[in-house]
């Protein structure tokens, strides 16, 4: 009875979370949903007489793999959200149809299969208990696979290091180079700070110059873009126009690498 209740609760949770992985627009939410699925599966393993696997599931999957996923998400950019443009026409529709067909097949096949009564693991773990039985199998019958696993893990670690390593192609810019580039450029001084007023002290407010005109460069381009996209523009039409103009400034997404380099220069200024 207890197992039935656990199963139904966790089945609903895990299927819902799995759908969340697929249909969430933001990758971080997908990662959290995947963590939920993995935790529910760990509990299901524990219920099914597999406490060792439940522990491994939590330690390896939710502990290590999910952390790795989140780490890479932060590295790659959290807002690298999906383009919802279909490259192949009707792909989404047919994918859904295929998934539905697969589920139907599975449900029909397993629903019609007749299983004998569950044997249970009592006999398999009779000699020395559960952990000992697992260890016995792992270090006798499967010892070769186990050793091969170590080679696999070392290869994976090496591969990750080689892939993630970046060879420096040019000399690292020294402070001298940076300062020379700054004075040869068109703006030797730092960018103006954002404006703070009596009613606002947010960094998305452009500063005013001594003559009362608006200093567009005082607002970060990305923040300006965010404001325009989400409609967080100030009431003052002059400031709003400045933010809008700043958001369109070299606003092509393709020039991202270039603007990033420029931005980092801006930091050093």
């Amino acid at each position: 009875m207890g197992e039935t209740i656990t199963f139904w609760v966790l089945a609903v949770v895990s299927v819902g979370a799995a759908l969340g992985v697929v249909f969430n627009r933001k990758a971080v939410y997908s990662a959290l949903m995947l963590g939920t699925v993995m935790l529910s599966l760990a509990v299901l393993y524990a219920v099914q007489d597999a406490p060792f696997l439940a522990a491994v599931q939590i330690i390896v999957y939710t502990g290590a793999i999910m952390m790795l996923f989140l780490f890479v998400l932060m590295l790659v950019g959290v807002d690298s959200s999906d383009s919802f443009v279909e490259t192949l026409k009707g792909q989404r529709f047919w994918a859904a149809i295929a998934a539905l067909g697969f589920v139907t097949l599975i449900v029909l096949a397993f629903g019609n299969a007749i299983f004998a009564d569950e044997v249970g693991l009592a006999q398999a773990t009779a000699q020395g208990g559960y952990i000992r039985s697992i260890a016995l199998l792992l270090f006798t019958k499967y010892v070769f696979a186990f050793e091969i696993t170590s080679a696999l893990l070392i290869t994976a670690a090496l591969g990750a290091m080689v892939l993630a390593h970046r060879e420096r192609l040019t000399e690292k810019a020294t402070q001298k180079d940076l300062s020379r580039a700054r004075f040869l450029g068109d703006r030797p001084s730092p960018l103006p700070g954002p404006g703070t007023y009596a009613r606002n002290n947010a960094i998305d407010m452009p500063a005013l110059l001594p003559d009362g005109s608006v200093a567009e460069s005082s607002v970060n381009r990305y923040i300006a873009r965010y404001d325009v996209e989400h409609g967080h523009l100030p009431e003052d039409p002059k400031l709003a126009a400045a933010i809008r103009h700043r958001a369109d400034d070299e606003g092509s997404e393709s020039g991202d690498a270039e603007s990033n380099a420029e931005e980092s220069n801006g930091v050093t200024k």
């Binding site: 299901l44 390896v60 790659v76 998934a99 299983f115 569950e118 693991l121 009592a122 670690a157 892939l163």
Partner: protein
């Protein structure tokens, strides 16, 4: 109960496969692959209890180990692609297409 577990496993697998097909973000596609691996593990554990044999659990354990190694290398590849192409979308890595 075995039937229930197997159907849940099939459902999770199908959802993961659908995610692989419809998502464009490489990291999310990868997460869906993990979902499919997890669904397979559930089936292994279920059958292990059904037939009273621990080997299913051993295989599930090996699947987890291989999945961990695969995630490490896969994510490194995604980071490398992102560095060169400034995008984690699977549509943008198409230089080998023609």
């Amino acid at each position: 109960m075995t039937t229930h577990y197997l159907i849940l496993s099939g459902l999770l697998f199908a959802i993961g496969a659908m995610g692989v097909l419809i998502r464009r973000n490489a990291i999310v596609v990868f997460m869906c692959v993990e979902l499919m691996l997890n669904a397979c593990n559930l089936a292994f554990v279920t059958f292990s209890r059904q037939v009273g044999n621990l080997e299913g659990q051993i295989i599930a354990f090996f699947v987890m180990v291989v999945a961990a190694a695969e995630v490490v290398v896969g994510l490194a590849i995604i980071v490398t692609i992102f560095r060169t192409r400034r995008s984690a979308s699977v549509d943008d890595a198409n230089l080998l297409k023609y």
